[in-house]
Symmetry: C2
Subunit: 81 residues, 2 copies
């Protein structure tokens, strides 16, 4: 069993209205000195697989096909055995 | 300027319908051997702050007050200087 962690973030330059809203909400709550808030996704995929390399390959393919919108998002895959 | 990375995940035992849906979608796309998919949030908070300790304290407070729903979610804060 292999656990793969996937981090999906908006590419630099892509507007993040959700992050902006959260930033304003934090300001309203009294948090000062906030420069920026960017929001992404974090996914944990557990695979019934023995080889970390095969798992990484499979999860990268999942990112390309479904988990990330590669037009506007970057992704990073971390594999633990 | 300090970058804090926040990981918000559903607590163990809390149902994750979004993760279940993604798992089924991946199965439909032909990915076999998936055990589980859990979906969380990843946030990058940039603070105008000098001390990493103060930044961690501020971001932890943000998590408690807004970024995470501590009834059903866990959070982890990583601070880089």
């Amino acid at each position: 069993m292999i656990l793969a962690k996937v981090y999906v973030t908006l590419k630099k330059g892509v507007l993040d209205p959700q992050g902006k809203t959260v930033k304003h909400a934090l300001n309203s709550l009294g948090f000062a000195g906030l420069e920026d808030v960017r929001i992404g996704k974090y996914m944990e995929v557990t695979l019934d697989e023995k080889s970390p390399e095969a798992a990484r390959k499979a999860v990268t393919s999942m990112c390309e096909k479904l988990l990330a919108n590669t037009v506007i998002e970057d992704y990073r895959v971390e594999v633990e055995s």
